[in-house]
Symmetry: C2
DNA sequence: TCAAGTGTATTAGCTTTCTATTACACTATA
DNA sequence: TATAGTGTAATAGAAAGCTAATACACTTGA
């Protein structure tokens, strides 16, 4: 996994777990990799993993069980809300940044379409 | 100006200057506010401003003149490239993050359209 | 010439983040 | 019961970012 050095690692790990849950690699009630396993996999210190997970625990997204491991919540309300939040925040970010460039909303959609079309063409590698 | 505490302030200021140039609040050859003025306006230390500007200077986006001030480059090649880079990087970020959620490109456009429509409706405040 | 306003540089100290290490509490199982 | 594997906690040190303060180099204009 690659980290952006402009953002705290623990925060990026938190976002990573969000994505793993939303994509379905981690499903309701299932166990996460061990904190120590995650530390090895992501080549990061145990404390940094713990810092990320402690925030997810506060949010009731994952449930810790001493001596056993960490588990994804089975509360579907939380899980469906999570998906909406993460996706919406992506669009929020794009919208705000492009609006700051005086780009009108209709143009944002057009430009995204153009960007994606170009990306398809550029796949000749 | 509001800063995101997850990203270095100097970096956000750099992005801010990019936007001011692209939007046209700062035009080719024109003088930027003084470093000390910027420090007051953004309620940030002079050194933090200096750190942001030093990167813009390395990129030849702004040109410093000792005893006079900092000026936006008159090199149109740099300025037009800048605009493209900034806008493209916004789409890059959105694309990567949504792709990580297994959202196909066509859906991204649809969802952005829906998001923008909702935002219009929500303007009833 | 001199004073005020520029950019530039340096030092010191604080806070946050990350790492390394050690220790402890709990669970499962041999 | 003992051991290995969990989460949890605390301490110390390094690095990055930010602030505060001071000083210096250059330009402009009175």
């Amino acid at each position: 996994m690659q980290f952006n050095d402009k953002v705290p690692i623990y925060y990026q790990i938190k976002q990573y777990v969000y994505r793993e849950i939303i994509v379905g690699h981690l499903t309701a009630g299932h166990q996460l990799p061990t904190i120590r396993q995650l530390a090895v996999t992501l080549t990061v210190n145990v404390n940094t993993i713990q810092r990320a997970l402690s925030e997810l625990i506060k949010e009731n997204v994952i449930i810790p069980q001493r001596g056993k491991g960490n588990f994804v919540t089975t509360d579907q309300t939380i899980l469906t809300a999570l998906k909406q939040q993460v996706i919406t925040s992506e669009f929020d970010q794009l919208y705000d940044n492009l609006a700051a460039l005086n780009i009108p909303p209709a143009t944002m959609v057009q430009q995204l379409q153009i960007y994606i079309d170009q990306r398809k063409d550029d796949q000749h590698d």
